[in-house]
């Protein structure tokens, strides 16, 4: 396959739309996980309350649960007749078979990443810097915003990038809830399988090459953040 054929397959308008959806939905999902993941890590490390051990174990559910199971379950829940979709449908809110469904699935699969990268850093954070800030007259909000959060930033970005990278390549949990309409709710990994089903190995490989380059760029970003964090902490 020459360059023109490669470009035609890898950058067709259908493929470009699929990359766009995969990237933007992954970005929204990873952002949601960055917010709630930070709160979850904070609650798990700093507070002792009944049910904490169960909460801690549950956070890893998206790692342990097969993605296809997550996919059918989410599609059932958020579909027009599901427990959640059924509640929202009368309000005119559609949560499955559109972009919202893709974001819900990608938020699910990325959930553990921010929690599990921020958690160990938060746990190892020396308590005396907080005490110093407090004894110098900072109120709790100032201590959290100016002393604790800056120390968490590298781990936070790493967790965000890992959740994002995972979401971009995700397939199983998305295809059931997405509706898979070309130019609308078709994610990039799905497009690869569609080309394969038509035995168009060239086009499938072209799209896969773009996906690999995106994954590689993400990996470099994560490593870059780690190197930067290592320099800052020294």
């Amino acid at each position: 396959m020459g360059w023109p054929a490669f470009a035609a397959a890898a950058f067709s308008s259908r493929a470009l739309h699929a990359y766009g959806l995969s990237l933007s939905a992954a970005l929204i999902g990873a952002t949601l996980n960055a917010v709630f993941g930070l709160l979850t890590a904070w609650v798990l490390v700093r507070y002792r309350f009944p049910g904490r051990a169960v909460l801690n174990a549950l956070v890893d559910l998206p790692f342990a649960l097969p993605t296809a199971v997550a996919g059918v379950s989410l599609a059932g829940l958020y579909g027009a007749t599901g427990w959640i979709g059924g509640l929202l449908a009368p309000l005119g809110i559609k949560t499955a078979y559109n972009e919202v469904g893709v974001v819900i699935a990608l938020t699910f699969v990325g959930l553990p990443f921010v929690v599990r990268t921020v958690e160990p850093v938060l746990r190892d954070l020396a308590h005396d810097v907080e005490e110093a800030a407090a004894s110098l007259g900072a109120n709790r909000l100032q201590t959290v915003a100016r002393v604790i959060l800056p120390a968490l930033v590298p781990a936070w970005i790493t967790g965000f990038a890992l959740a994002f990278a995972r979401a971009v390549g995700e397939y199983g949990s998305v295809i059931f809830i997405a509706g898979n309409m070309p130019y609308k709710t078709e994610i990039a990994p799905l497009l690869i399988t569609i080309e394969l089903e038509q035995f168009d190995y060239g086009s499938a490989s072209a799209i896969a090459t773009v996906m690999l380059l995106i994954a590689f760029a993400m990996l470099l970003t994560v490593n870059g953040v780690q190197a930067w964090a290592g320099r800052v902490s020294q």
């Binding site: 709160l39 649960l65 379950s73 699910f108 390549g169 994954a215």
Partner: protein
């Protein structure tokens, strides 16, 4: 004095309760509800209906293929993972960082792309396609392809769990054993292995959960021959697309039980050896090492 300090380094009570409530609601909504929904749908026609769906010959063959796949992939990755971790943590050699990056590769590649790679190598139009076809060996769209794809995606779990653990434990004990005359195998079996057993079990547990649940990579290489090349997650997809909800969710519920059992065992192992942590948390340790 402690009273004044507590006032400022502890979060106010309203923040505590507020944050715990928000996080519990988020986890309940995003994680518990989907789990409950699977069992509710599976049991829509009662326990009998669910068991009948699982007794279907296609469902049974999917369960069998999933068990066989895990029974091959997990021991293979355990063996290679232990060797790789032992080599990386206890020895120095050129291009070590390249090997570490390669071990991580399956985590950064989309499973669909991984499956495609096997189709391109072993498929009929692939590099070895002609030769394999001439010798009547079927890899892609057959069970061997499913096993290969599963081995690929589950490769990092054991190695990644053990490398930081072995590095943290250092080489002193091994060096002492060797200086007292123990050979390599004895050193490994009598010194290293007892130190890493919980970590090893932890890696095997996560590896097994992924091996039984992998969907994307397996879906690409399976070819979806009913009753022959469908694993449990693929069977869930087929039944779901057939609108057989009780069937799809019954198989899904079985996989949910596996996931819950994995989480319970994982928590138990973390209590036994507190320095164990998830593969993603270990990425940090690895990069620093």
């Amino acid at each position: 004095m402690s009273g004044a300090r507590r006032g400022t380094t502890d979060d106010p009570l309203w923040a505590r309760f507020g944050l715990i409530a928000i996080v519990t609601a988020f986890v309940g909504f995003m994680l518990v509800l989907p789990l409950v929904a699977v069992f509710a749908q599976a049991l829509a026609k009662g326990v009998q209906g669910s068991l009948a769906a699982l007794a279907d010959p296609d469902a049974l063959s999917a369960i069998r293929l999933t068990l066989v796949t895990a029974a091959i992939a997990v021991p293979v990755n355990t063996l290679i993972g232990v060797c790789a971790a032992w080599a990386i943590a206890k020895h120095d050699f050129p291009a070590k960082s390249v090997l570490i990056s390669l071990i991580d590769l399956p985590f950064s590649v989309s499973p669909v792309v991984a499956g495609l790679a096997y189709v391109l190598v072993f498929g009929l139009q692939g590099w070895f396609g002609r030769w394999l076809d001439a010798h009547r060996i079927k890899i892609v769209f057959a069970a061997p392809g499913i096993v290969l794809a599963t081995v690929f995606v589950t490769f990092p779990f054991v190695a990644r769990e053990l490398i930081p653990l072995m590095q943290a434990q250092g080489r002193d004990e091994e060096e002492a054993a060797v200086s007292l005359g123990a050979d390599g195998l004895t050193t490994f079996l009598r010194v290293t292995a007892p130190n890493i057993r919980w970590g090893l079990l932890y890696g095997v547990l996560l590896c097994n959960a992924r091996a039984m649940g992998e969907f994307g990579a397996v879906s690409v290489v399976s070819g979806h021959v009913r009753g022959l090349t469908d694993t449990m997650p693929l069977q869930v997809e087929i039944l779901y697309n057939d609108y057989d909800m009780v069937g799809a969710f019954s198989v899904a519920a079985l996989l949910c039980l596996l996931a819950v059992a994995t989480l319970v065992l994982k928590t138990a192992l973390e209590r036994l050896q507190p320095q164990l942590s998830d593969p993603i948390a270990l990425q940090k340790t690895r990069l620093r090492a």
